[in-house]
């Protein structure tokens, strides 16, 4: 049930990433990627989702030249990774899932050295590192060994390192894992701004609300295959109901009955409303007014993508059985 992804390409510009018929079987016989074909347009904020072992990290590994593919082709901004590896690699920045810098090196050296590997002279790399580390609130820690940084700081360091050569395509593999909410918010503000300035971003995350909030197109992988490739908008439009949590002014003794939507009481002053997606919210508020129930605040119960994601994975597994 895949739909055409939202197309951002202009003037027939090559896609930021084109993966065609990618297959990867490890030496021990494990098939990590059975068949993946996908295209990420320039300027996109693209979600690559899947359960553990779905093949996301393997695919990213292949794109970033960290894993040898079994077959298939990868093109980055029109440059084939096999025939023009230098051009292709120069366009990518990777924020990997695991911390993979030398923890005994000072923060600034880690960032500047990475620039050096892309041929950026020390002075230029230093200036860029200063800007990035200030933006990511790490400048004060620049002389510290990476060993002494907190988990959130280490994640931000990896972002700074990945951006030192100003890549046109940034791949974020679980960038906010283990990061507290405040830092996560500031990281997303930074990454959104980066995307708005033209950097294509591919995101894998287990925090599905992040994907829902930021990504325009989405691919869901399961067992090494693409099971969904569409726009976030179209995917979310597939939801039949939406659940809201309502905080009430007064405690509610009994839930009134209605056939217009489903009501659940969480505690005396909190209720959940499951509303058909095609019904107006006015129906719900009209009902509460009629029963003298005063609603003080309202929010979505959880991210909508999560429900769809679980549903799709279950469906895929059933089909395989």
């Amino acid at each position: 049930m895949s739909e055409e992804p939202y197309n951002l390409s202009v003037n027939n510009a090559p896609p930021a990433l084109s993966v065609q018929h990618l297959k990867k079987t490890y030496e021990n016989g494990v098939v990590a990627v059975e068949e993946i074909s996908l295209t990420v347009q320039q300027g996109d904020f693209f979600a690559l989702l899947g359960a553990n072992g779905a093949g996301k990290s393997t695919m990213i590994g292949v794109v970033c030249s960290l894993v040898n593919k079994s077959s298939g082709t990868i093109e980055i901004f029109g440059h084939d990774l096999d025939t023009e590896p230098h051009h292709a690699k120069a366009s990518i920045g990777l924020v990997p899932q695991e911390f993979n810098f030398n923890i005994f090196e000072p923060v600034i050296e880690i960032v500047i050295n990475q620039g050096g590997y892309y041929g950026i002279p020390y002075k230029v790399a230093y200036q860029r590192a200063e800007v990035l580390l200030k933006q990511l609130d790490l400048w004060g820690k620049r002389k510290e060994k990476a060993l002494n940084l907190s988990g959130g700081m280490k994640r931000r360091l990896m972002i700074a390192r990945a951006l030192i050569h100003r890549p046109k395509l940034l791949i974020l593999d679980e960038p906010t894992a283990g990061v507290d909410i405040e830092i996560r918010r500031s990281m997303w503000a930074f990454l959104s701004q980066l995307n708005h300035s033209g950097t294509t971003i591919i995101l894998t995350t287990h925090y599905l609300e992040e994907a829902e909030n930021f990504c325009r197109n989405i691919v869901i992988l399961d067992q090494g295959k693409v099971i969904e490739n569409t726009t976030m908008k179209k995917l979310l439009s597939g939801l039949q109901t939406e659940t809201f949590i309502l905080d009430l002014k007064e405690p509610l003794a009994h839930l009134p009955n209605t056939n217009d939507f489903k009501l659940f009481q969480r505690d005396a002053k909190t209720i959940e409303v499951e509303l058909d997606k095609h019904r107006s919210l006015n129906v719900m508020f009209g009902f509460f007014s009629q029963h003298n129930i005063c609603v003080m605040s309202m929010r979505n119960k959880s991210n909508r993508l999560e429900a769809l994601f679980v549903k799709l994975i279950k469906k895929s597994k059933k089909a395989i059985r």
């Binding site: 894993v67 040898n68 993979n100 050296e109 590997y117 041929g119």
Partner: protein
């Protein structure tokens, strides 16, 4: 990458390696100096007096070139094997692998680091040796040429070892079971002329013999081996190992899954 960018990448990797072993000089520079100092005291000064002369030189004078070469070999090798292996184990080799840095630059960067440490330690050991003996270098160009090529050769060998090693134990197998015996049996402490004809012939299959004797010729002017043969052996081995290391890096063997 342009030539300028490639140069920057090489310089970055080399400086990183240089800083790495310089920062931990107590582990990398000092121990060989102490060990070789003990060799000079015990083998050269104390036991050497009893041995007398070898090839017309005081025993301590005779073993100095071999001991310097031994420290160059072991340090060039261990610098690259430990640095590259730990990069691989801790994942920061990925910083290089995702970058457009060509594979030959990755190889040259690590080798340059190994050569720097090998020669650095060799220089320190040379200074220590001057506490026990005088040194009049007979053929400076040959001396420098042999020690430089030897450091290159064993740095490349260290990188190949690191590529294949999957555990810290595997990293030490080659140095302990192959490199050390070859070095000790490579004429560091004796002239192969002291051996029976059969063992003399066997010794000719030991590449370290050519390096130690080439270096000894450069310093003392005496050698069991023709210095041209020393250069030839070094250049042949460097060519073979360099090509092999590039092949491994291109294929991603031991690096890419």
């Amino acid at each position: 990458m342009s030539g300028q960018e490639i140069w920057v990448a090489f310089k970055t990797l080399f400086m990183k390696e240089l800083l790495r072993f310089s920062r931990i000089w107590i582990q990398t520079i000092l121990p060989p100096a102490v060990t070789m100092g003990l060799y000079f005291v015990i083998f050269g000064h104390l036991i050497g007096k009893a041995i007398g002369e070898m090839d017309g030189f005081q025993y301590i004078d005779y073993i100095v070139p071999g001991l310097i070469m031994m420290s160059v070999i072991t340090n060039a090798y261990s610098n690259v094997v430990s640095s590259f292996f730990s990069s691989k184990m801790h994942g920061h080799i990925q910083e290089l692998m995702i970058s457009p840095t060509p594979h030959f630059i990755i190889l040259l960067g690590y080798v340059a680091g190994g050569v720097a440490r090998g020669l650095g330690v060799g220089l320190v050991v040379t200074l220590v040796s001057l506490l026990f003996t005088e040194m009049n270098i007979q053929h400076p160009f040959i001396t420098v040429g042999i020690v430089f090529l030897t450091a290159i050769l064993f740095s490349i060998a260290g990188l190949i070892n690191a590529i294949y090693a999957k555990t810290f134990d595997a990293m030490n197998i080659i140095p302990v079971f192959i490199l050390t015996p070859l070095t000790y049996l490579g004429g560091v402490f004796y002239s192969v002329n002291l051996l029976s004809p059969f063992w003399q012939q066997v010794s000719l299959f030991n590449p370290v013999l050519y390096m130690v004797n080439g270096f000894r010729y450069g310093i003392l002017g005496v050698s069991d081996i023709n210095p041209l043969a020393s250069f030839a052996v070094l250049l042949i081995f460097i060519s073979i190992l360099f090509s092999f290391a590039i092949y491994l890096l291109n294929k991603g063997i031991g690096l890419r899954e």
